[in-house]
Amino acid sequence: MKIVILGATKGIGRAVARRLAARGDQLFLLGRDQQDLERSAGDLAIRGSQTARPGTAVCDLGDPRTFLPALDAAAAALSSVDCVVVTAADFGTQDALEADLERTRQLLDVNFTNTIVFCESARTRLLARGGTLCVLSSVAGDRGRKPVVLYGAAKAGLSYYLEGLDHKYRLDGLRVVCVKPGFVKTSMTSGLKPPPFAGEPDGVAADIVRAIDRGQPVVYTPRIWRLVMLVIRLLPRAVMRRIGF
């Protein structure tokens, strides 16, 4: 497969890229920092089975003007694209966001508006004739919750966009995969206390690669979170107001 990944230098994206490279997929990496991208491309080239060193291009979810040039570079390098994966996102704790309005606007822009604009660009440019669009949303978008009011709101919007996209284009050959990771021990969550069922990036990446292969519309990972969120969604408001989760 020929796969473009936005966010492959860190966290879950890094783990996904390694799994794909190990099995011989051809990759193109998008990210904010050219030097960091080159380092990751080098890492993947050593780990990869027989694949060539992945190409790279700068693409910043904070700056939509970078989207089209980056996607064009990917299209030119891979000639045809089978799959676009978006693992990049912004994160801030609820306390940090509440204290800073500008920071809140920035996070909502990156995680909702710009992510969707990027997906639209990828859909029209790369996946017009079908393919897979795999985007990391979050279990935080499944229900309004105290610790993730703002982050969760953006992810909820993203999840709904991905669901709509799936309904509209699945028959035209566009397979949309909405990934909802629970708590994963990455640098993004460094400093937060891991809850029970916290996942490791590599295990989560295995679930994501499987979902891409199957074209699964929604995937919870680690899988136990499907059950956890089912319970959370069913809890009455009166209970949600009282618990800290």
């Binding site: 966290g11 380092r39 080098g42 890492d43 050593i46 021990k185 400093g191 206390k193």
Partner: protein, 469 residues
């Protein structure tokens, strides 16, 4: 707190700066989510900063840790700086030459990942400690040794270059040719000379990914020392397990395991499959490591491990038998455990090894695992642990008398000119450590040159080296 006559603890052990309720009961608090601990589960308040970008994360930090497999307080923060940078997410490979086997990687790259990738390609880490859950940075900081120490020395011998952030914030690449002092002080320097960012390592070429191994049951300590010496000439990997509860005639009985890489002709055609791992799901009650259970366990292990001729075994079973059980440290209960690993120089003779074992068996300090290994020559690392002699490692559950046991063992180690392994240690006293380590002044001089203000430090360096808490 207990003291030994003649030694006043001027340097705070990490018990002394903990909340009173901990300091007044047993030496250590119980590990929780707001504490950090090493493999021995002895905890101090602290927090890990996980980051892919070590260069950024180490700015202003006082300590970096890897996978926290050191047993004691080497990877624990000093009380005034509870945040420690954790390197395992910084695990990118930077270059690999498939002709020469020279690998350069970020410091958080683990041996587990290295095996997955490079074993099938015919390469192995030149030196491996008893677990694969260690990072390159951690291996360099502790200058780890393995079953092949008598042939290949410790990991430092195979390190070609280290890129690090020093206390001033400067990023320095050091090697034998460039800043050799810093290089030698960093190998075995317990991360106290700078944050290790990248490591360049010479991997070892192997003929197949399988091990050919042989085991011999051994009746007493004299036979053991002779057998170790005898096998060292023919086998690249050797190590022994000792039943350290049996006394008298049986003192020092156990088994000796030797191995080498199987040749392509001897090895099975299939690569070694990933092993299934069991896990200890919760912290066990402390009677599990009582003396009685220890006696039974040692008896069973001794009888189970009969002599066995050459057979092909999985490399993980050979190098990392304990990795088969995840979280095995939970078996030692809430109070955790410590390890005492010392090396007794050849100059002290066999009598010294016998005396150390006698000391231990007389006290009845039930140790579940006692590992014996003959060491080769001392490496370049200024504080590197191994020296020509015999290394003995004992796991000891933490009890009220642990400090006294360690003190007694250390007094003996000092008297025969041996030393202890910092990566295992949590209870050695500063006075004892100084008495064991004549190289300390030379190392400290280099450390001070790079860190005049003494910024970089750990709970261990506060305890042993007199650093500011």
């Amino acid at each position: 707190m207990r003291t030994t006559p003649g030694i006043t603890p001027k340097i705070p052990r990490y018990t002394l700066y903990l909340p009173r309720e901990f300091a007044e009961t047993l030496p250590v608090p119980v590990a929780t989510s707001s504490t950090l601990s090493g493999w021995g589960r002895l905890a101090v308040p602290g927090e890990e900063i996980r980051s892919e970008d070590l260069e950024r994360a180490t700015r202003g930090a006082v300590l970096t840790r890897g996978l926290a497999r050191s047993y004691g307080d080497s990877s624990l923060p000093p009380p005034s700086h509870p945040r420690v940078v954790a390197s395992p997410l910084a695990d990118r490979l930077l270059s690999f030459d498939s002709q020469t086997g020279v690998l350069r990687a970020e410091a958080g790259y683990s041996i587990q990942s290295l095996l997955q990738l490079f074993l099938p390609r015919g390469w192995f880490t030149p030196v491996s400690p008893g677990t694969q859950f260690v990072t390159l940075g951690g291996m360099v900081a502790a200058d780890v040794h393995g079953k092949n120490h008598h042939c290949d020395g410790s990991i430092g011998r195979h390190v070609r270059a280290i890129r690090m952030r020093t206390a001033s914030g400067e990023i320095v690449e050091c090697s034998r040719g460039h800043e050799p002092d810093l290089f030698r002080a960093t190998i075995g320097g317990m991360g106290l000379t700078g944050h290790i960012l990248e490591v360049e390592l010479q991997l070892a070429a192997i003929p197949s990914p399988w091990i050919l191994s042989e085991r011999q049951q051994i009746g007493d300590i004299d036979e053991f020392l002779s057998a170790l010496k005898d096998r060292a000439a023919h086998w690249p990997f050797t190590m022994g397990w000792i039943d350290c509860i049996s006394r008298g005639r049986h003192m020092g009985r156990g088994f000796l395991q030797c191995g080498r890489w199987a040749t392509a002709a001897e090895a099975p055609r299939t690569p070694p499959a990933p092993l299934r791992r069991l896990s200890v799901p919760f912290v066990c009650p402390s009677w599990l490591t009582s003396q009685f259970v220890g006696r039974v366990f040692n008896e069973v292990v001794y009888r189970w491990n009969t002599s066995k001729g050459a057979q092909i075994i999985h490399p993980e079973r050979f190098f990392y038998p304990l990795d088969a059980i995840r979280h095995w440290n939970r078996l030692y209960g809430r109070r955790g455990f410590t390890q005492h690993q010392s090396v007794l120089p050849d100059s002290a003779g066999r009598e010294a090894v016998r005396q150390l074992l006698k000391l231990l068996t007389d006290r009845g300090a039930a140790s579940f695992l006692c590992v014996i290994k003959d060491c080769g020559d001392q490496g370049e690392g200024l504080l590197s642990f191994p020296m020509r002699g015999t290394s003995i490692a004992l796991d000891l559950p933490v009890r009220a008398n642990t400090q006294a046991v360690i003190d007694q063992l250390n007094e003996f180690v000092v008297s025969v000119g041996g030393r202890v392994y910092l990566a295992k240690d949590a209870f050695t006293r500063a006075d004892h450590y100084r008495a064991m380590e004549p190289r300390l002044d030379a190392w400290t001089a280099i450390r001070r040159r790079w860190d005049p203000a003494g910024r970089l430090r750990s709970a261990q360096s506060v305890r042993l080296l007199g650093d500011a808490p």
